[in-house]
Point group: C2
Chain length 375, copies 2
Amino acid sequence: MNVGILGGGQLARMLAGAGIPLGLNFTIVDPKADACAGALGRLVTADWEDDAAIEALAGCDRVTCDFENVPAAVLEALGQRTTVHPAARALAAGQDRLVEKRMFESLDIPVPPFAPVSSRPELLEALERIGYPAVLKTRRMGYDGKGQAVLRTVEDLEPAWQALGDHDLILEGFVPFDFECAITVVRSATGALSCYPLSRTVHQDGILRLAMAPAPGTDKLQARAERLGRTLAEHLDYVGCLTLELFAADGRLLANEFAPRVHNSAHWTIEGAQVSQFENHLRAVCGWPLGETAARGRSLMINWIGRMPERERLLACRGLHWHDYGKQARPGRKVGHATLTEADGQSLDTLMAELVPRLDDQSASLLTGLMNDSA
Amino acid sequence: MNVGILGGGQLARMLAGAGIPLGLNFTIVDPKADACAGALGRLVTADWEDDAAIEALAGCDRVTCDFENVPAAVLEALGQRTTVHPAARALAAGQDRLVEKRMFESLDIPVPPFAPVSSRPELLEALERIGYPAVLKTRRMGYDGKGQAVLRTVEDLEPAWQALGDHDLILEGFVPFDFECAITVVRSATGALSCYPLSRTVHQDGILRLAMAPAPGTDKLQARAERLGRTLAEHLDYVGCLTLELFAADGRLLANEFAPRVHNSAHWTIEGAQVSQFENHLRAVCGWPLGETAARGRSLMINWIGRMPERERLLACRGLHWHDYGKQARPGRKVGHATLTEADGQSLDTLMAELVPRLDDQSASLLTGLMNDSA
């Protein structure tokens, strides 16, 4: 069976890594000739709308995406010719933050206060209602903190407007959260659905840095998060993995955004869950039985941002699993990650304490903070 | 860093699967154009001694094997031009059963009685000394029970001689073992060495069918097996993973044979150990720190022989990890395996009991036997 993937980044790379042992072959379409998933499949270098791309993918038994901003029209066209998961409609629902937030509201999924902004007067009006601090975001094409500005005082207003005013925008109330977390849900075409344990996430400058799972102290939140994830997946008649990013505040959960694909907050599942999000996404896309989402002990994932750290220094850490995406170094770019997992006689606390002295200062500080906060 | 592999079967496929996340690229040489490791690297279709093969591999930073019967001369030639692990000498030591057994004896590694056989009179003489039952084996090129005949009575003699008499042979006493097991050792160029937990193995018709690890009830045998494995690896100044196959009889361990490569009895380490044999072999070959060999709970591996079983029936089993080698079906051929691993709240006993009814009769019977025997 041949699976086509729109987008050839690290998510496609890890999908193919999970799928090859399942007996799948991959055809990957990406505009870049050095797309890192090319090591594990046939890479077609083309733009999404390119005829060559459409033809290569239409010949696959199944098609999926590693990227939520694929034009929905491309998926619709492909959907006429082969089986595409997730469907264009599900992708479209996540491509515009305003549409997404309104969908959450309509599903009784709690969200922070928000308002659409398409002019300066609208921004001022929205700020009056929502108050400082707030976050001004582009409605489309934002990821990893791009296309966002935090407004803490009136002085932040002008630079934010200069930077973003050309786009359709949304203003969101800044949630004074206790912590951030994310739930990954996998759903099959038959409606079977499983949820991974909540992952506690730590962002910096809008980029995910750490994920710990199962998120400590979330026994009560887990069932609530599962209900929200299930509501969303069923509403979208979703097939595959999706992740709902959440703020936990005063024992409540507020939805931030969802990603209609495998997600960074669940990379820990490769070694830390019985079946990874990558394998389960493919199982769902192929119409096979879903795999168990149970955790195998506790896990911590740490992202490598900008450039890979010194490999030998880190490979010497017990319990550490290395993921080099094979990408060129570039500031702010996700180039790899590592996951710590427990083994017989090794607790995650011990493994994290051994890891900290081998990290760069920034990562060490974030991890120490998370360890203290979750102890 | 580019790693060359002589041989493109499932072992090379799983080496590459483990190595790509480490940031490695692979060049794979195999005489067959459909070698299954080709999905994960650049496949050079050529005979081992072919100039194209030598050139492709000589350009790699490191070279290793997925096959112990690579001509030692090829490794020697490559060793002049790049770094080759294991070295030609280690490979040669395992290519002739007689040389291997004599090496074991010289290292005080206990072995069953054996004698070289190059003529009918020598066979009769050896049988007189060793007695029935015994196993007549070709000295070279045997694997998966090929090139062997069990002699239980004098009537087995003539057919065995007809089948094997053209080769250099060895007669080995048949060990009335309690069970078979195997220890996998990884050693780095600096002499650092780690051992995986003993794997209890079950063969049928000379082919490995099941492996359970850590082997139950082997607390005392583990240290002894580690000593034997260490002695062998140090004697060979070995770099990479090697596996020593053992008979356990009356609380003693007798060496059967060793494999200078990653080995089927340790496939469970992919999901069942902190770092797999495949990753650790590559870490050793690349000169990186070795990873932890600690188990992550208990595991059971089951080989798929001849053809893959029905995928959907088995993917529905909890705790099951699927490995389809992407090979054509053929009687007696290893085409894939699956590994059961424990997760939070799931014991291996439960998972095995759930698996049995989904297996073919032969596999079900072998697994039930192992479960009863190891309970």
